[in-house]
Each structure stands twice: as C-alpha cells, then as structure tokens.
Amino acid sequence: MIWYIELVITILVIICGIAAITVRDLLGAAILFGAYSFMMCLLWAIMGAVDVAFTEASVGAGVSTVLFVAAVFRTSRRTKD
C-alpha cells in the first residue's frame, strides 16, 4: 500500500465531500458528488476491496450521478444555502 497515494486520495475524498455540501449550485453539487463517489471507489480499490470498488464505481459514481442530474433537471438548480 503506497501510503502517500492513499493520503492524497483521502484528502481529496474529504474535500469533495465538503464541497458537494457547500457549493450553491445543485448541478455542481451533483457532479462533485460523482467525483466524491469515484474517489471513494479509488480508496477502496487501494484497500483491496475490488468487488466493492467496482460496484461503487458503476453504481455510486455512475448511476447515482445520472439520477441526481435527472432530478436536478426536473427540479431547480438554484439553492439558497
């Protein structure tokens, strides 16, 4: 386990998580959430959980982001907080 790669990805996960919550535009939040899921998938792949990483990549980063974008498309992008 190359620990510095894991450290970089961990920091990226936390940054994407906080950004997905604080960014004002919902479409941006959906895309950042997709990035968060993908970073999570990398973290798990490094930790050896290949099946879970595969599922998270296809289900979490893939379909969840599409469903989020579809829902934001059906509602509104503006948000106050």
Binding site: V50, D51, F54, S58, G62, V63, V66, A70, F73
Partner: protein
Amino acid sequence: MKIIGFIIVLLCGGLLAYATSDFPYWGDPASPASMHVSAYYIENAVADTSVPNIVTAVLADYRGYDTMFETAVIFSAAIACFFLLRIFTPESSQSKLYRHIPTGITLRIAPGGKLPEKSDTFERIDSSWVPHDLIIKTACRLFIPFIQIFGLYVIAHGHHSPGGGFQGGVILGASIILFAVSNDLRSTISRMGEKITAFLCSAGVFIYAGTGALCILLGANFLDYGALASLMGVDPVSARSHGILIVEIGVGITVMAVMVSLYYILSSGGQLDEGL
C-alpha cells in the same frame, strides 16, 4: 438550528472517537474480525463451491438469502418510484415542439393541438432540445454494443474475477441510459418499452427466488444449490457453482431493468414523455 446540529454531530463524533481507542490495530491478521467466520470462508470457499472469487461465493451461496433480499430491495425501489411519480393521464399543459425535417424549422404547437405522430416530414423534439449533434449520437451508437458485451462479460465472469450480478446489471442499464441521454427518451422507450422493463424487473427476482424454491421442491432447504445436482447431473460442488451463476444472471437482469425504469421515471417526472 445550525449550532444544535453542530453540537449533536460533535457529540456523535466524540463518542465514535472514544470507542476507537479500543479498536484492534488497523490491518493486523489476528484481529477478531478476521479470525472466526471469515477464516472458514477463505479456507473452504473453493472446496465447497469451486468458485475462486470468495466474495461471489459468500455473496451468492453462504449468505445467498441476504442477496435475494437485496435484489428485492432494488426491486421495491423501482416499484416505489413507479407508484410515487408515474402519471398515466397525458398532462397537455406544456406546448410541444416539432421540427420540419426538410427545412429544419421548429414549430411550437399550443397545448391540445397535435401533429400526426408517425408523419415523416415532422419529428417531435424535446422542449429543452440541443442543436442537432451528429457526433455524440453516432459516437454513442458505436460505444453501446461494446458496453453491453462488457456488461455480459462481467456478469458471466463473476466467479473468477471481481464482478457479478450487480456490477454487470448496472453496466447493461448504463448502456441503455447512455442511449437515452444521447438520443431522446421517446426513441429509447420505443426500443425498450415500460412493459418490457417491468416484466424484466420481476423476471430476474423470480429467477432468484424460483431457484431457491426449486431447491425446496428437490428436498433440501431453501437456496441450497447442492440439491440441484440431481437436476443438472453434476456433483453437488459444481452444482453450487452453476446455481451461483443462475442466480447472478437473475440479479443482473433485475438490476438492469431497475436502473432503466428508475431513469425513465426520474428524468421524465413520471410522464415518460420528455426526458433529460
């Protein structure tokens, strides 16, 4: 409200950090989590089910009952979205957009008015349409068959490499969603209709629970694939491996159909008319 939320979250985090002091060291092989049950799985998975990927063996055979209910969870999500959002009476409040193909002019038809659907000079386009983009459409048409082949490979090869029913089903579903995003929703629904998706949803889970019920009819307990040996004419261990494969195919079909139906309903807000 912000401060109360912050305090509760800090309290929760502090409680969890307080418990971490008693955790076993990270990754040591003698920690109780990896001694008791999982040691048996690692040592006996190949001997019991002749499936080298231990995760697939545990997922579909030792704890196959969990996975059956997990497929039932994803099935009930599709039913829930259908039940909540689906609207059958065509809401004609929005105006419809048509494009006159020879000249490329777009016409806005007031609500209520309707052009013949199947006419060859006019084609219906979404109200939030993007200019006619040939590159994306043809590129996606090229990709989709290969994505689907890869999806089938992932389902079938779940025994030996990471993958299995869920991942393969999602990839197959994603290929159809890619077609729906590149073209428009109506052409996708004309190719894979709502009835077919609903039938595939319940067919996949029916395969899973039906295989389990078949094992009861053959005298063993529920989901005990060893009983299928008499049916398949092979020794019980490889009968378990084939049982796992049948179950994974059932899961793949259900997950594909559920992802497609979720996308249909969420992107069109229930009317299955104009999608993303």
